[in-house]
Structures are given as C-alpha cells and as structure tokens.
C-alpha cells in the first residue's frame, strides 16, 4: 500500500495583533490581514514545530520512538547552519537512528517536505515519517511585507498503515522569476521589490499550470474536487487564480487561513490542509497547492479515507479561539525587532 497521511497537528501561538494597531502606528495596513498570530519571546520555528508535531503524534496515536524520519521545513529556522531538525527530534524523544532533513528558503516547502517524506516511506527506507512545517518570518517594519507575516506550525505523520488521507498524485512546476519575495544570505529580513502585475502574472501561471497538471494526470476537473488549498498566496490572488481554474470561492474559503493568522510562510500550505481535513468527509477530494516566490509550486491531490476525522485532534479552531491581543510596542519587543537577537 502506498504511503499516505496518518495524522496531522497544528499550532498557532496565542498572541495576536490586530490590523487596527498597524493603522494606529503606521497609518496603513495590509489589505487582507484582519489579525495575525505572533510568536512569543520564547517561541521560534523550532518550538512551534515541536508543539505541532506533539499534536500530530497524539492525534495519530503514534509514539515518537516509532518515527523513522523527520523532515523540518521553515524559511525562518533559528539556525541558518546547524541542523534544526535535531532539536525537534530530541525534544520529541525520537530515536537516534533516524533520518533528519532541514528544508529551507521557500514558502512552498511545506509540500516539498511532505512529498519527500512520502518518497522516503514509499521507497521502503522506513515505515513512519514526520513532517514539521513551522514559520515566523521577519521583515523590515518600514516595508510593505511586515504586517502580513504571521506565525504558525503544522505537522503530518506519513505511513502506510492506518492511512486516513490517501495521496493520489502530485505535480510540480518551476519557473525562474526575480524580486517577488527574497532574503539574501546573511540578512534577517525577507523583502520584496513590488512589481505588481509582473509578479501576479508569474504567480497565476505557475499555480494554474501546477493545479491543472495534477488534475490532468488523474483525468479530473475542478468539479471533481471539494476543496482547493492554496498555501502562501493572499486571499485576493487566491480567489482570482481559483476562478481561472474553475473553482468557485466556496471551494477555497475553508483552506483560507491567512486573514486570521497572517502569512505563515512555509507552514501555510500544511496548516490550511490540516484545517480542511479536520472537517472533511469520507470520499472527498482535495488539492493542496503551495507556492513559493522565485518561483515554484507543488500540487498534491488527496482523498479522504474512512477515518479522516481522526486525523486531527487538537484543532485549528481551538487554537484560533485561544488568544491574547498585544499592542505594537510589545510586538516589536518580543519579535526582537526593536532590540536583541
């Protein structure tokens, strides 16, 4: 039997900052972020990843000592060099004879990690894999990107037994493009050269050919799918792209997390997919497509199995409801933008 998703878990930090705070301080705000989650002073991509992974293990009823591979992905790993996955593996109590991988530098890479982990299990190298996507990217407070950047994590257990969500097919696209979103080596802030329609055209072409690609491989059409998850894309562009693909807004609204969480970078796609799977019914089909500037995309076609509801326990909505609002001054202090590392 082919590898699929055995369980998933999410984590959203409890701190939030509202759009009104950005309006108050800067006089402007992101068009689509109503509020966003904020990693606390003692949180980072590793600690949030550990929380999401613990939830995934609990939901899947899998012991951490049975995990054979850990794929960690983030655009904001605490260490640019020194393996980050080893901290997560140790904190979870994983065995020492496991394969560990860090995947960085693209907001697309949640799906890259998931597909790599599926390959690991399908190749027979191991039985159970753990994918951890966690991100809290930072940007210049004067820049246009900063307001939208949130913080969240999602984790998935991949295996061949007790598969709750089947992975049917995948399709990937790569296309070289410049300036949309990048961070040079040694820099802490992600940045953008706003080129409006140029970037919108690249994004639209990459995503539409990716989603169409996976549907064509399965001889399916948009009508055959119940949900389309577009990770790493703002709601306005997501709505436009999905219409072009023949998906009405109702099919993408469930997978839209960024208005309340912000842009969760490499965690976006798996966070949104987890949310969709929490309320999916048996037999439903979902496409999860993630996009990363530069540019690349992966689209994965999934089918909900008999026990799909058991896939997620500590739920997205629970995390969304437990929150505490902070002001902008607290925000730039705890995010180490005002001072400190």
């Amino acid at each position: 039997m082919l590898a699929g998703i055995v369980g998933c878990g999410v984590y959203i930090p409890r701190l939030r900052i509202k759009r009104e705070e950005y309006q108050r301080v800067w006089g402007y705000s992101s068009r689509w972020v109503e509020e966003k989650s904020v990693a606390d002073f003692d949180e980072d991509a590793i600690t949030m990843g550990v929380e999401a992974a613990s939830n995934a293990l609990r939901n899947a009823k899998v012991d951490s000592s049975d995990i054979d591979a850990l794929y960690f992905t983030s655009t904001s790993p605490p260490y640019a060099e020194k393996q980050n996955a080893s901290t997560i593996a140790t904190a979870l109590g994983c065995r020492s004879d496991i394969a560990t991988v860090d995947i960085t530098s693209s907001t697309k890479s949640g799906t890259s990690a998931l597909l790599s982990c599926l390959d690991f299990v399908n190749s027979g190298r191991g039985k159970l894999g753990l994918v951890v996507a966690s991100d809290c990217p930072r940007s210049d407070p004067m820049g246009t990107l900063e307001h939208q950047l949130g913080a969240a994590a999602a984790a998935m257990i991949v295996g061949t037994e007790q598969v709750r969500v089947l992975v049917e097919e995948s399709y990937s696209i790569v296309s070289e493009s410049l300036g949309e979103r990048f961070r040079r080596d040694g820099e802490g802030y992600v940045t953008t050269i706003d080129l409006g329609s140029y970037h919108e055209t690249v994004l639209r072409e990459v995503i539409t050919s990716c989603v169409r690609g996976v549907m064509q491989k399965l001889h399916r059409f948009s009508e055959d799918y119940d949900s389309l998850v577009l990770g790493g894309i703002d709601p306005g562009k997501a709505s436009e792209v999905s219409k072009k693909l023949g998906f009405e807004d109702g099919k993408i609204s469930l997978g839209m997390v960024s208005t309340k969480v912000g842009d969760a970078g490499a965690a976006s796609s798996l966070l949104a997919l987890s949310k969709v799977l929490e309320s999916a019914s048996v037999g439903q089909h979902v496409i999860c497509c993630s996009y990363g500037a530069g540019a690349g995309a992966d689209a994965i076609s999934l089918a909900a199995g008999a026990e799909v509801r058991q896939v997620a326990g500590a739920r997205y909505e629970d995390y969304l409801a437990k929150k505490e609002y902070i002001d902008y001054t607290t925000y730039i202090k705890i995010r180490r933008i005002l001072a400190g590392r």
């Binding site: 409890r14 606390d40 002073f41 003692d42 949180e43 980072d44 590793i46 600690t47 550990v50 929380e51 609990r58 605490p78 260490y79 901290t87 140790t90 904190a91 979870l92 109590g93 326990g313 500590a314 437990k322 202090k333 705890i334 180490r336 005002l338 001072a339 400190g340 590392r341």
Partner: protein, 144 residues
C-alpha cells in the same frame, strides 16, 4: 543559576528538552534532575530512563521582577518585564523549577494544573538554550 558550559548543558539535554527522568531500580521512585543518588531512597542511583508526561501542579510560585533575574535572563527581562517562575510537582513525583509561560502571574495559584511546553530558555555562547517551561493545561487528560 549562573553560566552553564555547553558540555555540561549537553549532558542534561534529554532531561531539559524531553523530561527524560531516572526510575530508581531499587525503590522505583522517579528522579529529576538526575543526581548521584535517588531522590527518595538515597541509594547510589542505578536507573532506567523514563519519559515523563509533562503534567503536574504548581507547588509554589513567585515573580522575578526587574533587577532580580539571573544574568542569562536579563535580555528576557529587559524586553518582557517581570516573569513568573514556579516549582512544579510533576504527576510522577519530582518537583522541578521552571518558568511559567502563556499566562499572566495573576492567573497562577498553588495547585493549578500545568503542562510542559518546549521553549527557548535563554541565549548563551551564541547558542539558543532550549528547554521546558510550563503553562496552564490546555488539553484535557483524555486527549493526552
């Protein structure tokens, strides 16, 4: 606490990251942190490792106010202000000192049920020292 060298810190990483404790082969009591002797029967500790649940209750607590923090927590205090610290009595028996997080000092009381969470503790030697903090429980016992 003062400076803890990286080799010393590393030796206790399983305890610090994942609450891996020692179960005494003589009396069965759980020791954390690990010392030379069992915390209960006092015999030289021969043990098997046991991962603790991370669940427990606040035994007592305090607030570390400005000027009161050890040097490794100065950056935290400068940026965040006062922070709560508790002695937590774990379900398996041991009492350990740890910071409380995801809560306000006024939310704390003796006997409050808490659960462990993996966090950044402080920075030293350019490295992040990770470890366990506690927060009021957010998942029910049945789920865990």
């Amino acid at each position: 606490m003062a400076y803890v060298s990286i080799p010393t810190y590393s030796r206790s990483i399983p305890q610090r990251y994942a609450l891996i404790a020692a179960k005494c082969k003589s009396c069965g009591a759980i020791s954390l942190p690990l010392g030379a002797n069992c915390l209960k029967c006092g015999k030289i500790l021969e043990y098997e490792s046991q991962k603790l649940s991370g669940r427990g209750k606040i035994y007592c607590f305090t607030t570390i106010s400005r000027g009161g923090s050890p040097p490794e927590f100065l950056a935290q205090q400068n940026l965040v202000g006062s922070y709560p610290v508790a002695v937590v009595e774990l379900d398996e028996g041991p009492r350990i000192v740890a910071q409380m997080t995801d809560c306000r000092a006024e939310d704390l009381k003796i006997g409050l049920e808490v659960e462990s969470t993996f966090r950044r503790i402080y920075d030293d030697d350019g490295m992040i020292r990770y470890g366990v903090k506690f927060r009021p429980v957010r998942t029910s016992r049945e789920d865990s």
